[in-house]
């Protein structure tokens, strides 16, 4: 570990990974908070909280970006999701469109459906807002797409 003392050239010599500068293929933007991420978060680790799921969402602003659609990939994500939580989150932030409330059985071949899931999971971003513990009301701020989930010592 280098605590700010090692000359940079040494680091390159000892590394066998070739340092090739990356070319940005297309202009991208800072990644914000996805509903996929919301679907995976809980406040269960807080003192006194038993389930802590799903977290509430208060939105200040959202952003919609186009992401390449890969139906096979979306089909692989779906079994890992809590569908009703995703549905409710999409509804909360006004991006429900006509996403069905119930997950259909044969979604793998339903391209239209997968496209809608793709949109709410990966194309809709929360930029600023907060996540809320359903049991304690504790708020976790989201600033510029980064949720701050840190707890104080007396909360764990």
């Amino acid at each position: 570990m280098r605590l700010g003392l090692t000359p940079a050239f040494l680091v390159k010599i000892v590394s066998s990974v070739v340092l090739i500068p990356a070319r940005s293929v297309h202009k991208s933007e800072l990644v914000k908070m996805k509903l996929l991420t919301h679907n995976m978060l809980t406040s269960k680790s807080m003192k006194g909280v038993t389930v802590g799921y799903p977290l509430g969402i208060n939105v200040v602003d959202i952003k919609v970006t186009e992401v390449d659609f890969n139906p096979e990939f979306i089909s692989r994500i779906i079994p890992k999701l809590d569908w009703s939580v995703l549905w409710k989150a999409a509804d909360t932030i006004g991006q429900l469109d006509d996403l069905p409330k119930e997950l259909s059985q044969e979604y793998e071949n339903d391209n239209d459906f997968l496209k809608k899931v793709h949109h709410v999971l990966l194309e809709v971003d929360i930029v600023n807002g907060e996540l809320v513990c359903p049991e304690t009301g504790r708020k976790f701020p989201i600033n510029n797409g980064i949720p701050n989930m840190l707890l104080n010592e007396d909360e764990v």
């Binding site: 040494l10 590394s15 809980t42 989930m149």
Partner: protein, 205 residues
């Protein structure tokens, strides 16, 4: 397939760990593991303590069709990771979090952790600044030891956990403990770098 090191620029993030020999050793190890990672078809990949974001972004550039997450206890590091993702046109979800404390169980197929491993006084484990990049407390193991018992619940059943350890961290103890949790290990890399003897260890079931 070659694992290209992601481009990064920490000029506006002075309080973030600058990628060093340990970071690059980790990248070497992941390059060696690349075939296994592709075969695993991981869905969710997370780096704990992403710092600049160089490791998770390099992975994201090379592996397609996975979701990439990065947590750090230092908000500046989260911002740096977000920027590094952008610089390399990859999508990394940054979160400011203590280890993986607020994720639901069994969400990740791959966990990568270059931890704060330097042996220090326990008192140095305070605040959320740059000191958290290296301060490891007793045996340099305090943060590592907080994470290990949680790995079985965090990792999916086919999942892989990659961890960097320093000789002073007593790797054998870590390996033995993980064994009691049902994990096999493999040392992917070991190297003496600038006076530190480092290991990259892979754990899976």
């Amino acid at each position: 397939m070659h694992l290209q090191t992601a481009e990064y620029d920490l000029s506006s993030h002075a309080d973030v760990y600058e990628p060093s020999e340990d970071s690059f050793l980790f990248l070497d190890a992941l390059e060696e593991e690349f075939g296994n990672l592709v075969d695993l078809k991981p869905l969710n990949i997370v780096e704990i303590g992403s710092g600049s974001g160089v490791i998770i972004t390099s992975l994201a550039k090379a592996l397609k069709n996975a979701n990439f997450f990065a947590v750090d206890i230092n908000m500046s590091a989260c911002k740096a990771t977000q920027m590094t993702g952008e610089l390399n046109a990859t999508a990394i979800q940054p979160l400011c979090m203590d280890l993986l404390g607020q994720f639901k169980e069994n969400m990740f197929d791959v966990i990568v952790f270059n931890p704060p491993y330097v042996v220090t006084d326990s008192e140095e484990l305070c605040g959320n600044g740059i000191n958290r990049a290296w301060a490891g407390g007793k045996d340099g193991r305090e943060i590592i030891d907080k994470l290990l018992p949680k790995i079985p619940n965090i990792l999916s059943c086919k999942g892989i956990f990659y961890l960097l350890l320093l000789k002073e961290n007593k790797p054998k103890e870590v390996i033995d403990f993980m064994f009691t949790l049902g994990f096999a290990h493999k040392i992917i890399k070991e190297r003496k770098l600038l006076g530190e003897y480092l290991y990259i260890v892979k754990f899976n079931k």
